[in-house]
């Protein structure tokens, strides 16, 4: 048996289960569509065609997947360390606002620098927002699952306030003034608004993959996630490592928001995110936290979303059906996850944190 065989077998084992989950979900969708009296084959053809066939459809899918992929990467870094960052949505909102603010309030900055400034501040803001729950977890043992989730509301409503009062553009809409063109991300296609963010998330995925697999920090993050007690006894400062993982996670969450603003909306719009952070959680789960896998599952998720619109248009099947399919996929994937976790945790934590953690993931999968 060669090394090569091994690698392929591992890849096959890694994607086998998510694919099975997807197949099962599509099968259930087939049954539902049939019961509703529609033609399932026709509907699926419209769905898949609408997502992945033809240049403009593919581009729409990609536009839609960019923030989801970035959010997925954010979730993955924290999860590798055993931390559940359910607060990507909030980090994304704050990061988006920070980027927009840099974009519309500073004039005359060279284009590249302007974008970097915007992304830099959004990363800092996202990291700071993730630092609060991380430090609460380390100091007082507060469940970061709960705190990150609750801080989402704080972040979202805070940006709502900012965009409704101090930074509101005159007019009827709750939005800020447009950012200067120097802060906009380069547009790759005018029709679909596909922008440079696509390249950015690919680069980020590679960086995160390198960080986790090939650096000492990433190694410490993963080992801490697998066994905090052994890691601590082996001289890894687990508290510091967990905080770093959350800071990185929060920073990427903030950047996810910045990319969406600088690339698509070119201004901050109240409640602009249809739940990218939550989708990120789902794609991260589907890819089992593998950064390259997140690229694929993110595009798949984006495709479901953009294809759903086409399907609704072409047939009588409402696009909400696709929402349920996505939830079902996550349910299957998460069920596998929790099953494994429970078995492993059983001797020590009959009612411990691990279990409730996984439960949360499942619930959020459903709410996506």
């Amino acid at each position: 048996m060669t090394q090569q065989d091994n690698v392929w077998r591992r890849i096959a084992a890694g994607i086998g289960r998510p694919l099975l989950a997807i197949a099962l979900a599509l099968l259930i969708g087939l049954v539902i569509i049939s019961i509703a009296g529609e033609d399932p084959i026709e509907s699926y053809r419209a769905l898949i065609g609408g997502a992945f066939v033809g240049r403009s459809n593919i581009e729409n899918t990609l536009v839609r997947s960019i923030p989801v992929i970035a959010s997925g990467l954010a979730v993955a870094v924290a999860f590798a360390c055993g931390m559940f960052n359910m607060g990507v949505e909030g980090q994304l909102y704050l990061g988006a606002f920070a980027a927009a603010w840099i974009g519309f309030s500073i004039k005359g900055v060279p284009p590249l620098l302007h974008v970097l400034l915007a992304i830099g501040l959004s990363a800092a803001v996202g990291a700071a927002w993730a630092y609060l729950p991380a430090i609460a977890r380390i100091k007082w043992g507060t469940s970061e699952i709960v705190t990150t989730m609750m801080l989402n509301y704080v972040a979202q409503y805070f940006t709502s306030y900012l965009v409704s009062f101090p930074f509101k553009e005159p007019g009827d809409l709750q939005q800020t003034p447009a950012i200067f063109s120097s802060a906009e991300l380069y547009e790759l296609s005018a029709a679909s608004r596909l922008h440079l963010g696509l390249l950015l998330v690919v680069v980020f995925a590679v960086i995160i993959a390198f960080l986790l697999k090939r650096t000492a920090l990433g190694y410490e993050i993963r080992m801490t996630g697998l066994s905090p007690s052994v890691s601590r006894a082996s001289g890894i400062s687990t508290d510091r490592t967990a905080i770093r993982a959350m800071l990185i996670s929060g920073a990427i969450g903030g950047i996810a928001g910045a990319i969406e603003i600088l690339g698509v909306h070119h201004r901050f719009i109240n409640n602009f995110s249809p739940g990218y952070g939550w989708d990120g959680l789902a794609v991260s789960l589907l890819a089992k936290g593998n950064p390259i896998g997140i690229l694929l599952s993110g595009i798949f998720y984006g495709g479901l979303q953009s294809g759903a619109n086409i399907m609704e248009f072409a047939t009588d099947v409402p696009k909400q059906l696709i929402d349920s399919l996505r939830a079902i996929i996550i349910l299957f994937v998460a069920a596998d996850f929790t099953g494994l976790k429970l078995l492993r945790a059983k001797p020590k934590l009959p009612r411990g944190g691990g279990k409730s953690g996984c439960k949360e993931v499942k619930t959020c999968g459903r709410s996506v």
């Binding site: 390198f210 190694y219 410490e220 080992m223 697998l226 052994v230 082996s234 001289g235």
Partner: protein, 511 residues
């Protein structure tokens, strides 16, 4: 005719993989007695009791209750057979009341309605019969530990237990609470209940039991009446008699003191002192053995030395540097190798690969970390270690959990020896290993001793201690009550010391 024995277990054997947990164990308990079951950690007490309670199935052997052969498939069978078990860690719901906990799973009902009043009445009766009072309406989280334990005992009685297994019941109690527990045990046996009392504390055995059975390495060593034994005898039975003589080692002239520990005190989370005024030195080329019955502060001492627990007072110096209260990464960066007792809690990550496990503690080493980790160099190095220490199978990509105990221990030693510069702390290094691996571990430790390492050996295995150590320090209740060179050590004296009887003051009472 009913047998005079409430319980007889005959020829019980239980094997887990390559480890024999129980081998042909015979265990008989008379009706109406307190029967103590003693032995070191890993001697097979819990396995035997889990078999009795139906949590494990024996590979061979039979169980008789009151002379009748029974098969206990699971705990609900055990409860039906009137066996009750009080676990070391309580299985109570903190936010429920005493009564609610008591009836959990066997709720009395009136129609479809829960009949709590009836339950509360039964609890009052039961507690009066046991000679104590308890408020059925009190919430568990407001009850002291001693009371929670009584609730556990009553839970078993409420389910009709005649044979009660108490698994190290005093480990969580204060001395006063323990005394009260013993009184309850006496009351219960007077009412015809039979109690199996698992403990390491020999004084408690002498104070409460009528008979005692000693297990060692999965086998029954002896069953004796309390009148015919004493604490020292029991201690020797538990750890095994001296078989190897001190002659097996080269003589190494110890060098300068590398580890210096001075006036060290540490408390546990409940504020009880677990280390009292510990002081010792370990010189280069010397093995200092910390002996004693488990639970006398050895674990806490290691935690404090390794920077995993902060001492309240005192000073630790390693290689001339003060590391008191420093974290484990500081201690380890000074080159302290650590071979822990509990492998999967301390030294091996089950779900990480062997290669990843070998890197623990080396991830910042410049040989392996330049711009990113040098995976090829790491693999090559890990491969060498795995072969040098003969880890089987010698594969780097399998998860560590698929290694057997002996091989996992070899992998840990390989890494820790590579990491250590001058100091090694080894805790029960041969615990749970087969003879071949034990020999390997001992040879490796002696080899390091020859190379001038300062080695601290924590072991409750007397044979191992006498074979390896140059100096022996005996811990009892958090204190080093005696330390002496390992020369013409007399077994009787070791036994006395481990039972807490100091040299030259043999009648001293434990505080």
């Amino acid at each position: 005719m009913a047998s005079e024995y409430a319980l007889e277990m005959r020829g019980i054997t239980k094997v887990f993989g390559s480890v024999v947990a129980n081998e042909d164990v015979n265990f008989k308990v008379r009706r109406g007695e307190v029967h103590a079951l003693v032995g070191e950690n890993g001697a097979g007490k819990s396995t035997l009791m889990k078999i009795l309670f139906g949590l494990y199935q024996p590979d061979a052997g039979e169980v008789f209750l009151n002379g009748k052969r029974v098969v206990v498939r699971d705990p609900s069978d055990a409860i039906k057979l009137n066996i009750g078990m009080v676990h070391q860690h309580f299985m109570l719901v903190p936010s429920f009341t005493v009564a609610q906990n008591m009836i959990l799973g066997v709720e009395p009902t009136k129609g479809v309605k829960l009949d709590l009043a009836e339950a509360e009445e039964r609890i009052r009766e039961l507690s009066n019969a046991c000679g104590f009072t308890i408020d059925p309406k009190a919430r568990i989280r407001d009850c002291p530990v001693g009371v929670q334990q009584r609730v556990e005992i009553m839970k078993a009685l409420y389910r009709g237990a005649d044979l009660l297994i108490l698994d190290e019941p005093t480990s969580v109690l204060t001395p006063d609470e323990a005394e009260e527990l013993f009184e309850i045990m006496r009351t219960l046996t007077r009412q015809g209940k039979t109690i199996i009392f698992i403990t390491h504390k020999l004084r408690e055995v002498m104070a409460t039991a009528q008979h005692v059975t000693v297990l060692r390495k999965g086998r029954t060593v002896t069953t004796v009446s309390i009148d015919e034994t004493c604490e020292e005898d029991l201690a020797l039975h538990m750890v095994g008699r001296k078989v190897e003589l001190y002659s097996g080692k080269d003589s190494v002239k110890p060098g300068e003191a590398i580890v210096k520990v001075d006036n060290l005190w540490a408390a546990d989370q409940y504020g009880r002192w677990r280390l009292r005024d510990i002081g010792f030195q370990v010189r280069a080329g010397e093995i200092v053995g910390i002996a004693g019955v488990a639970g006398n502060g050895q674990d806490e001492l290691v935690d404090v030395l390794m920077g995993l627990k902060k001492p309240s007072r005192g000073r630790i110096q390693i290689d001339g540097q003060d590391v008191t209260g420093k974290t484990s990464n500081v201690v380890r960066s000074l080159g302290v190798g650590y071979i822990p007792e509990d492998r999967y809690e301390r030294s091996m990550i089950r779900d990480a690969s062997v290669a990843e496990n070998m890197l623990l503690g080396f991830e910042h080493d410049e040989r392996f970390n330049g711009f990113g980790l040098k995976l090829d160099t790491i693999r090559k190095w890990a491969d060498e270690l795995v072969h040098e220490f003969d880890v089987q199978p010698p594969l780097l990509d399998i998860p560590a959990r698929s290694l057997s105990g002996g091989n996992a221990q070899r992998a840990v030693m390989a890494r820790e020896f590579a990491l250590s510069k001058r100091v090694i702390i080894a805790c029960q290094p041969s615990h749970g290993l087969d003879i071949g691996s034990i020999d390997f571990v001992h040879k490796q430790l002696l080899d390091r001793r020859r190379k001038g390492y300062a080695i601290i050996l924590i072991s409750s295995d007397l044979e191992e201690m006498l074979y390896l150590a140059d100096t022996i320090a005996v811990m009892y209740k958090g204190e080093i009550i005696s330390s002496f060179p390992n020369r013409d050590v007399d077994e009787k004296r070791m036994g006395l010391l481990m039972a807490g009887v100091r040299d030259a003051e043999p009648e001293e009472e434990a505080r």
